[in-house]
């Protein structure tokens, strides 16, 4: 039932045409090989070397991997995105889920307006989103500043201890609508027969949600979780652009991706940076795979 099972869609026995499929897949694969596979292989190659400003390039085997796994900055950055993942993702997905159920309930005035308006932030480029929120977060001339003055407090959303939440808010703003739509689309294809049966049984709204809607949403939730995990682990644009406003709150190793970026671009440690990229890639793939397996095993 789930389209998310890690197995190919139904196999068609058509031995005669064995190679015809390649004709369709080949163009994608050629570009794919050039822009994704080749850089990955190159990154693996890079990760086995160390190029120094003084002394040149040398093969170092797995020394970069050993260094990464004992690097407090790397663990610090990883810990931060894991925290982000376990706090921001559930909040965002719960809001999105509630909104999707509300849209689907047909008890909302002007539902289609809500649907489009809440989805709109998804279309806003991350650069623009961070610029806007950056202005809003300003404690002197921003909206936060106005509220601080009004309530006589000194709340600074970009202070070191809350800046992760401020970034989480920007991400929630950007992606709640997207996830809401994903869930809403899944709700729309639930067969009307199920509801009719439920109504004949005299089921109440919350019972319908629990026993019909949520099970039907499971595949959509799994895919949303997987995308959110990937998104969290790759967190980069928001903190990186926000860093100019809060340099002391957002370190150069704030997220693994920022760490990899700064290693390359500020420190010219291309090899070490590639190592971090490979580790994060493997880690993300493994976690996404586990979530996917668990998601489909518990299927009802």
């Amino acid at each position: 039932m789930s389209s998310l099972q890690l197995s190919s869609p139904p196999v068609m026995r058509r031995t005669k045409r064995q190679w015809t499929g390649w004709m369709f897949v080949l163009p994608f694969l050629l570009v794919f090989a050039l822009v994704l596979v080749a850089p990955v292989i190159y990154a693996v190659y890079l990760s086995l070397f160390r190029d120094q400003l003084v002394g040149g390039n040398a093969f170092v085997g797995f020394a970069n991997y050993v260094e990464a796994l004992t690097d407090p900055n790397f663990w610090d950055s990883l810990g931060r995105v894991v925290l982000f993942l376990v706090v921001q993702v559930p909040i965002m997905l719960l809001i999105a889920l509630a909104a999707a159920l509300a849209l689907d309930s047909a008890r909302l005035h002007a539902a289609s307006f809500f649907r489009i308006a809440i989805f709109l932030p998804y279309a806003v480029p991350a650069v623009v989103a961070v610029l806007m929120w950056g202005f809003i977060y300003g404690t002197q001339f921003g909206l936060v500043g106005s509220f601080d003055k009004f309530f006589g407090i000194a709340f600074d959303p970009l202070a070191p201890n809350v800046v992760l939440a401020a970034i989480g808010n920007i991400n929630t703003w950007e992606f709640t609508g997207y996830n809401m739509l994903l869930f809403y689309a899944a709700l729309r294809v639930i067969s009307g027969d199920l509801y009719e049966a439920a109504e004949l049984d005299g089921a109440r709204a919350f019972q319908v949600i629990r026993s019909i809607k949520l099970p039907a949403l499971r595949p959509a939730i799994v895919i949303a979780v997987i995308f959110s995990i990937i998104g969290s682990f790759q967190l980069f644009n928001e903190p990186n652009i926000l860093k100019s406003l809060a340099p002391n709150s957002i370190s150069t190793f704030f997220t693994p991706n920022m760490y990899a970026y700064n290693l390359s671009f500020a420190g010219q440690q291309y090899n070490y940076s590639a190592t971090i990229a490979i580790i994060m890639g493997v880690l993300t793939a493994v976690i996404a795979y586990i979530v996917q397996l668990r998601g489909s095993r518990k299927e009802l």
């Binding site: 190159y42 890079l46 309930s105 809500f114 279309a123 202005f135 990937i230």
Partner: protein
């Protein structure tokens, strides 16, 4: 079969709830507030920008003046960036959609040697952090002489693993294999079958993928930032960030009004595209998440 049911769970005759509408209204305010802020502040001059309350209009209404300044600043570089973005979107998103369409159809409707491997490869690729691969990609592209050309931006955006996956699952359902068999028996070539029969049946999925790839290429920031050093090749996102850096870097020029108005002009087309295409994407999206 993935069919969009028009009956909303038999609930169309339910009573509207004011409380629910108010609660959802809070989410709506949250979603629209920054956009409202952007609009309000793009009507302000540089001077009143910093001296007035952010959420309401103030000072002379300078929206059209700001738009004029944005479009003409630095010999109209903004218009240039706009054109670049369009180019990247048309070729990048168009190409990505086409490749995903071909590939997804091929994977869904044919069995061929190495298919499992292709599947694993694509799934694995989704998990690799693109940002962190930027450096190897950059170094490789520069060996090929592709950096600082439009191809450095277009080539990577031609690949949409999610798009491929979406078409794949959609095509598995939306195109009955019997129909293809019939066409083959009639002697139609595979390509002809694809273009005459398959594409039509795949249209909702196609529009969805197109919409997501348009958003992805329109918002593409990091890749062009690294690949391009010539500002005349920049897309809007990178250009805007450069303006922002100009307004906030050492020896800054106070051009915040241009940054804000430019931001507004950047999101208007994509918002219009959304509103225009929204009739289509909804049905396509469901294919990606749920099959019956």
């Amino acid at each position: 079969m993935s069919s969009v049911s028009r009956t909303k769970g038999g609930a169309t005759y339910r009573r509207k709830s004011t409380i629910l509408t108010i609660v959802m209204g809070l989410l709506l305010v949250y979603s629209l507030l920054p956009l409202f802020w952007l609009f309000v502040n793009s009507t302000k001059t540089q001077a009143s920008l910093l001296s007035s309350f952010g959420l309401w209009f103030s000072g002379p209404f300078a929206l059209f003046d700001n738009i004029g300044q944005t479009l003409t600043y630095n010999n109209g570089i903004f218009v240039h960036w706009f054109g670049n973005t369009l180019l990247y979107v048309v070729i990048g998103a168009g190409g990505a959609t086409f490749l995903a369409l071909l590939g997804g159809y091929g994977l869904a409707k044919f069995n061929f040697p190495g298919k499992k491997f292709v599947f694993a490869l694509i799934l694995g690729a989704v998990a690799i952090p693109g940002t962190a691969l930027a450096v190897p990609t950059f170094l490789m592209f520069s060996q090929l002489g592709l950096t600082n050309t439009v191809w450095a931006v277009i080539l990577p955006s031609l690949i949409s693993p999610f798009g491929l996956y979406l078409i794949w699952t959609y095509a598995s359902d939306a195109i009955p294999s019997e129909l293809l068999e019939a066409a083959r028996i009639d002697g139609a070539s595979e390509m002809r079958t694809f273009f005459t029969i398959a594409i039509r049946l795949l249209t909702p999925g196609l529009v969805t993928v197109l919409l997501f790839t348009i958003v992805a290429t329109w918002n593409n920031y990091f890749l062009p930032l690294i690949m391009l050093s010539d500002p005349t090749l920049y897309p809007l996102t990178v250009g805007l960030n450069q303006w922002n850096a100009q307004a906030s870097g050492v020896a800054a020029q106070p051009i915040y009004n241009l940054v804000i108005t430019g931001s507004l002009l950047t999101i208007v087309p994509i918002v219009v595209a959304f509103l225009f295409l929204q009739r289509f994407w909804q049905s396509g999206l469901s294919a990606g998440s749920v099959k019956e």
